[in-house]
């Protein structure tokens, strides 16, 4: 079933919308959540919670890309679950990915208390706009989807070594961008 037909089912408030969504994209949603949580049960629960969130959002929202829209909900639910379960053992790609970001962003003093999350999101969007399409995809695959270097390399069509080098360079560039905008000092 094409996305427009699934969205139409949501608008008709037909429960078939969820089963069609799950049939078409369930594996992607589960992988996105599992990359963060590294727990099958938790990932399944988060995906189900995301389906409820999608049901509540559509309508009135009519997303251009159903996959991207629901992935965003899955990620946010999963990240929230992750930080709630702080006791989770460090073994997920998400942990490693965020440690890379921590090393890039660490600073003795910051203005983080004064920067709202949404404002920071706009700043991050500004940074993403400075990247090439390929580098933007590499960056988001790593830090939004928490994908492994191997998966990123396969998707983009470059070597894992190139992925590592590119991400290192992008993180450095991001730090400079954030310092210029006084998000970091």
């Amino acid at each position: 079933m094409v996305d427009e037909e699934i969205i139409e089912l949501f608008f008709e408030r037909s429960e078939q919308a969820i089963s069609e969504l799950d049939t078409k994209y369930g594996r992607v949603f589960h992988k996105t959540s599992y990359n963060i949580l590294k727990d099958e049960l938790d990932a399944a629960e988060c995906v189900n919670d995301a389906y409820l969130g999608t049901w509540n959002a559509i309508p009135p929202t009519k997303p251009n890309s159903l996959l991207a829209f629901v992935c965003q909900i899955v990620r946010n639910v999963s990240v929230k679950r992750y930080y709630m379960k702080k006791a989770i053992k460090r073994n997920s790609t998400y942990d490693v990915a965020m440690e890379e970001i921590d090393a890039c962003l660490s600073s003795a003093s910051t203005v983080e208390d004064e920067v709202e999350t949404r404002e920071l999101a706009r700043i991050i969007e500004g940074f993403l706009d400075t990247l090439s399409s390929e580098n933007r995809v590499i960056f988001l695959q790593r830090y939004w989807f928490s994908d492994t270097y191997s998966d990123i390399a396969k998707k983009v069509g470059i070597s894992e070594k190139s992925v590592s080098v590119r991400l290192s360079r992008i993180r450095k560039k991001m730090r400079e961008y954030l310092v210029e905008r006084e998000v970091l000092v």
């Binding site: 991207a68 992935c71 990240v79 910051t110 991050i124 993403l128 988001l140 830090y143 939004w144 998707k155």
Partner: protein, 200 residues
């Protein structure tokens, strides 16, 4: 700021960025080329006179050939001498007609030489070499603009020949260009020289 705040903010970026990832399709790559000793295509905009020598490797490698690689650092063009075994920074430059490549140069030495600029590439003929943006070319040097084959991955290996008529030698300079954390680097992997048996 820490990774948690960053991650939360990242979760709030516009969904169009996520769509781009979801819809992204990698560019098709041509099969990796086996490293070649000679380039497939060279275009010269100013003709230099030379004669193909018959090679006879009698002599040890001697100096006389100094290769320069150009890098752009904070908007300033920097010349770095490329040496055997020691990498130097190098940058991509662009011409006014949209060609992108690495720039090398060496001093004109041969009597009667005209300063030249040539393109070295393994792919299809890319077109005429126009002005290299940001680079002021000197009449005392010969320039080589190396254009990597499209979609070819790093590292790039290629050979640059150089004739020293005074010393009656031909140099084969085997170069390696790699990606680094800060950009790119160039190094001479090895140099070979041959005595010219035939000269004009």
């Amino acid at each position: 700021m820490n990774s948690e705040k960053f991650s939360n903010a990242l979760g709030k970026i516009d969904v169009s960025y996520v769509e781009e990832v979801v819809d992204y399709k990698a560019k098709k790559k041509r099969p990796q080329q086996i490293w070649k000793l000679a380039v497939a295509c060279v275009a010269v905009i100013v003709l230099t006179v030379d004669v193909l020598p018959l090679f006879n490797k009698d002599k040890e490698i001697s100096s006389g050939f100094a290769l320069i690689a150009y890098a752009s650092e904070n908007g300033t063009v920097v010349e770095n001498k490329v040496q055997e075994g020691a990498s130097v920074p190098i940058s991509f430059f662009e011409t006014t007609n949209g060609l992108k490549g690495f720039v090398f140069a060496y001093n004109r030495k041969n009597p009667g030489d005209i300063s030249s600029a040539s393109i070295m590439t393994e792919g299809e003929f890319p077109g005429i070499l126009e002005e290299i943006i940001g680079l002021k070319m000197s009449k005392d040097k010969n320039y080589v603009f190396y254009i990597p084959e499209q979609d070819k991955e790093f590292p790039y290996r290629f050979m640059m020949p150089y004739t020293d008529e005074e010393a009656n030698l031909v140099y084969f300079c085997y170069l390696l260009v790699e990606e680094t954390e800060d950009g790119y680097s160039a190094v001479i992997e090895r140099m070979e020289s041959f005595e010219r048996k035939f000269k004009e």
